[in-house]
Subunit: 159 residues, 2 copies
Amino acid sequence: MQFSIRPATVNDMSRVHELIVELAVYEKEPDAVKICVDDLINYGFSSQPEFHCFVAEVNGKVEGIALTYKRFSTWSGLVLHLEDLIVTERLRGTGLGTALLDEVVKYGNQLGAKRVTWVVLDWNESAISFYKKKGAAIYKGWDWVSLDEQGIKHYLSKL
Amino acid sequence: MQFSIRPATVNDMSRVHELIVELAVYEKEPDAVKICVDDLINYGFSSQPEFHCFVAEVNGKVEGIALTYKRFSTWSGLVLHLEDLIVTERLRGTGLGTALLDEVVKYGNQLGAKRVTWVVLDWNESAISFYKKKGAAIYKGWDWVSLDEQGIKHYLSKL
């Protein structure tokens, strides 16, 4: 299969949003996507963009995305984080995901990132074994803590 | 105890570095801190800073820090992440940590963040229970995947 990987443009954001929603539906969380196409444009293409996105294009259509942003480690310095790697269901297993991950690692290296990070579900043994084969280390034992909008309001109301 | 919380300045970075090292030593990882004071200054005080840090000052000395940066969720939008919350050992349990966390949540709210996130060790039940009381949700089941500098080089050498 012929495909190309390139940085996303403003014009891709509508299709990027579709793929984000497709994955949320696949994960049985159809209402989880609270952001709209304009949010993606505003967050991603301002003078200080909040993310950097790559797209995989097949026959002129975007069929996969890798969305990244910079983090900062007080031990290592700059870190590139891969927030989402999505390939449309029909084209999974065709190499698009690996090609997108390759591009992300190259980009991290160009940025001077000391690490490239992402998360994986702890039961997803095939993914974990794939990442290990690629040279990645897997860290267990950390839980995420999250205050959502309601939680932030509640927290502030108690101060 | 009297203390004040304020945004860090360039002049605080030397003491911020000391506190980062103090924590690494406490965690029995004395050699883990690869960054130096100049790295903190360069990353944190450029035209596009990679982090935003608060300090807790007691009698004119910085005794605690909260280091944050922005993340981006494809479901929610802007997220403020608390990377490190450090209070010097001698002053733990005096309210500095809570005051720093309060400031972080306020800052997230000002930024328009849809979530404030951080991580916690999964065996740290007292911290988890404290965060829950503050209204936070705890997400289990995700492992971190990390390519360090060596891993990035190895990955790229195979392309």
